[in-house]
Symmetry: C2
């Protein structure tokens, strides 16, 4: 991957606020919208979701998930040139007595100050996606397979 594409990948992971989460529902795919943040080193992606939401019930039953992070459509002539990355991974609940919980919560609140009231409601939880790999499409015809290691390398770029 050229360095411009690497920077674009790091940029969309850091600067996109919403993603499409794919879960398994009765063995079929189910895609829903979530807000997310990425760990500094792109080794994890965190979601803050309600236990009552369909995707949360799906994740509790089956850890296999996919997360699509795509540039927002800005009305350009050809939307197929929008950059996007599809992550495949495994998801787990981050219990609120785990050491990482407070720092993840604080980072989430930095990105999503409006979500503060939700952190005080019962039944809202942080879930952590550990990527196994992914596919990055930098634009039309520019697609790259990503390993977990490649993601972590890209996280070292300043954007």
């Amino acid at each position: 991957m050229d360095s411009q594409s690497e920077e674009l990948l790091a940029h969309i992971i850091r600067n996109t606020r919403i993603a499409a989460l794919g879960t398994l529902r009765d063995e079929a795919p189910f895609v829903s919208m979530v807000t997310f943040i990425a760990a500094e080193d792109f080794s994890a992606f965190y979601l803050h979701v309600s236990r009552l939401a369909q995707h949360t019930m799906d994740m509790a039953k089956d850890k296999r998930v996919s997360l699509l992070i795509a540039e927002a459509d800005d009305g350009r002539a050809d939307p197929l040139t929008l950059a996007r990355v599809s992550i495949r991974g495994s998801v787990d609940l981050l219990h609120n007595d785990e050491p990482a919980y407070t720092s993840v919560k604080n980072k989430y609140l930095e990105h999503f100050p409006e979500s503060e009231p939700l952190f005080n409601l019962p039944g809202f939880e942080i879930w952590c996606i550990k990527p196994k790999g992914g596919r990055f499409v930098a634009g039309f015809g520019q697609a790259y397979n990503l390993t977990r290691e490649a993601l972590q390398e890209v996280s070292q770029l300043k954007t």
Copy 2:
């Protein structure tokens, strides 16, 4: 569902250009970005994709898909208020000798004039998702289950 939510649903289905497609890949979910158009009566959603793309290979193996249509992030304070609809359905190739092919192609080109060169390339195909149901989130805490019939009723609203 109140009439304002129904209009919002019809609006996002008609005016959103990109969607997140969930397919099954080795029995796990895989989410990727696609462009799409909806049939007038919302009884079908059409994608124009390359036979070489991962999602197309997935669809050829397993018809079960999900399509998330979400408002583009406009930078509002709380992105969880963005409207979105998750469709669950079954997908099939629309062969180019089927009667509907030409009208779907023409409608696709109206929405995506930049895709014209792709229609002349070998290996680009139109796939048709028939919805079985869905879930519409009009904003925070306003979620509705949708039947196929409810979708078709909403399609009758002028937006």
